[in-house]
Symmetry: C2
Subunit: 231 residues, 2 copies
Amino acid sequence: MSSTYDPADFPAFAVTVDLVVLTVRPPNLEVLLVRRAEAPQKGRWALPGGFVGPSQDLADAAESKLVDKTGIRVKQAHLEQLQTFGQPKRDPRMRVVSVAHLAMVAVPSEPELEGAAWHTVGSLDAAALAFDHAEILQAGVERARSKLEYTTLATSFCRSEFTLAELRSVYEAAWGERLDAANFQRKVLATEGFVESTGRTESAGPGRPARTFVAGRAELLHPPLMPPGAL
Amino acid sequence: MSSTYDPADFPAFAVTVDLVVLTVRPPNLEVLLVRRAEAPQKGRWALPGGFVGPSQDLADAAESKLVDKTGIRVKQAHLEQLQTFGQPKRDPRMRVVSVAHLAMVAVPSEPELEGAAWHTVGSLDAAALAFDHAEILQAGVERARSKLEYTTLATSFCRSEFTLAELRSVYEAAWGERLDAANFQRKVLATEGFVESTGRTESAGPGRPARTFVAGRAELLHPPLMPPGAL
DNA sequence: CCAAAAGTGTTTCCTGTACACCCATGG
DNA sequence: CCATGGGTGTACAGGAAACACTTTTGG
């Protein structure tokens, strides 16, 4: 910005957005991938994404790709910038800088789009992904975990109305570890603005019906929900 | 990346790096700014930065700007990617996407470069900064604070050999809040790999001489050093 | 009536915090 | 010998974890 270059002769880059779209289908953390229809890397799995328009904001570009691929409105999901990847040779065709974004969504009930599918994060072969998308995915999963620790974003993985067991399953899926239901409940309810009770209850199979909740207005958790020991 | 565009006709962007270079001069947190020598925004303060070369990695670009402006070797400092800013109108000349980086350095004893100066973060008028650099600076300060909380990066604000009082002053400068010296000391020493004792001591003015330390090998703090109440 | 899941109570332990106190130095 | 900052000891309060126990449903 403080450069002395002539604006007319700057190196030309392509700028894209790539999306790490995560969801939870207990007991798994899953990511949305699309199969590449064209060379290079034809047939391999890739993160959804695409070029940023000449006068399009980065966040807008990410949002429109998300709607294209999932039909999910951003109001119901969480979308944030993740990290920018710009290794000179990451795309063999040209110099591409990709601004990766992270989306956390409730698993949609609608059928999936052609060529797109959910994959369990844990059992995914990094070598099966195109370009440097394995690295981007890893950054996304790490970010998601750290956000779950100290924010209320776990609710964005849940339906609009959910039980505490569902909310708990989000944490269990992200860390692959069981949590004590009793202590979990107390912690969540003790945190002002994390969840808000609807008066209703919901029953699924045997067992006492659970109360249902909606997301609260708070965004930060003090202290974090997960124990420090968990990676 | 998974786009169907023809590689030949993509929108052309300029890509830059901008640096938020922070240091601590107790009791202040300070940022390195340069005065713009040319239009637009001539004469206003700006973050150091510049264009990324056609086959230059983003991290390399940030590193070379840092060396240019401060003469500090990256080995002695901390440099990480911060966030990418790409509002269509953020630079009036053309479409520029800036990959902002955060650097945390010990205050250099060498004289400053022409046109560059350290500014106290707290008493800085946001309107005095060029482009969207006030927003970038704010993101950098927030990131620095959160990194100080749960990593050992505070040591990168210190000289290679430092006392615990110096380390404490880093936290005090970042939050503008006094810490209990006794508890601070116990916490730091109890954290495996945070600091490592040299056998030496150092005396500055009256009072018992302090032991000196060097940075340890650990990078993460469990639990965080600052209390949750602190903004 | 039994299994299973929701939700509550209770005990134990650990850690952060405050603060009293001793140590070692410069002036 | 006094002020100043380094460093140690200690007692108290609040929260996390483990787990026994009660409640409410489906089969």
